[in-house]
């Protein structure tokens, strides 16, 4: 919804907004691309930024690959298309083995809601009060927090690592050392690596 609403305000057509969601299907980078288009950044700049912003999907899909049966190989090209922040959060916090049908159903629901949300957001955009439009952004973060909590309640180590990752990424972004998108990748690899190393030493079960 939020993407459709925002897309309308930047002046792209309904068809273009629909295509963005239907073939790219990557929330954060779509918002960033709208910004870049609006500020006149060229093709190369947008593609490179997209690569950096979405590089985290590489980490997510390697994680998911480690959780599924290798018999699923033929479904990988389809499953891969649906790896998003949202589907990843849900999948990663589900206990036990992930079945192919579960992943595909989950990803399809996410996909259909994203695309229909974009179209209805674009159409509704003109009618919604400005105040509500501006308040939509928090919903995504609220969802992430809600997904993370059950995990954090069980393990303080996970909480500590997650919070240090948040601080490190914020610090890296603030200091502006790395190009946008890379700081999150560096943060994740560094903190997860430290976590794995540190807790292996103490021999604790994760």
């Amino acid at each position: 919804m939020a993407f459709g609403i925002l897309a309308k305000t930047t002046g792209i057509t309904l068809l273009e907004a629909f295509l963005f969601s239907a073939v790219v299907f990557a929330g954060a980078s779509q918002f960033i691309a709208l910004n870049l288009l609006a500020t006149g950044v060229g093709f190369g700049g947008i593609i490179l930024t997209t690569l950096l912003v979405n590089f985290r999907h590489f980490l997510m899909s390697s994680y998911i690959a480690s959780r599924v049966d290798s018999k699923m190989k033929r479904a990988f090209p389809i499953i891969a298309f649906g790896v998003t922040d949202e589907s990843f959060s849900v999948l990663s916090f589900k206990k036990g083995a992930l079945s192919q049908i579960y992943i595909i159903v989950l990803e399809s629901i996410a996909y259909i809601s994203w695309v229909t949300g974009t179209v209805s957001g674009y159409i509704l955009g003109g009618f919604l009060p400005d105040l509500l439009v501006k308040s939509m952004g928090i919903a995504l973060y609220a969802m992430f927090v809600a997904l993370l909590m059950p995990e954090v309640k069980q393990s303080y180590k996970a909480l500590i690592l997650a919070l240090s990752a948040g601080l490190l990424n914020s610090a890296l972004l603030y200091l502006d050392i790395f190009p946008k998108g890379w700081s999150i990748v560096i943060t994740i690899i560094f903190v997860s690596g430290v976590g794995a190393f540190f807790y292996e030493e103490t021999g604790e079960e994760v």
Partner: protein, 102 residues
């Protein structure tokens, strides 16, 4: 400056995004069973990714969003219902924007 075609931007973004998603599966396929050390590292990825996405946004978007995020955090301690947490978050931001000029 030459006006760039949005269609090409969409196609380019789609290809590059799909590449980032499928490459993780390729890697896992090539290497087969991952070493234990790598698997242990992967276990910590979900939490770290999520907080890494949220934290800068919370810091960057000002007091209202930071307070609303904290409220969502408190609510999620009490309730595992995602919809309740999301609706409350949006409601808090909308109300605060309306009544507190920041």
């Amino acid at each position: 400056m030459e006006k760039i075609s949005i269609e090409w931007v969409i196609i380019g973004m789609a290809l590059i995004t799909y590449f980032t998603r499928v490459s993780g599966f390729w890697l896992a396929e090539k290497t087969g069973k991952l070493p234990e050390k790598v698997e242990n590292t992967l276990k910590y990825i979900p939490g770290t990714i999520i907080i890494s996405i949220i934290a800068p946004a919370v810091f960057a978007q000002g007091t209202i969003n930071a307070m609303a995020s904290f409220a969502c955090f408190l609510i999620s301690l009490k309730s595992d219902n995602i919809v309740i947490v999301m609706v409350t978050g949006v409601a808090i931001v909308a109300l605060m924007r309306n009544y507190i000029p920041l």
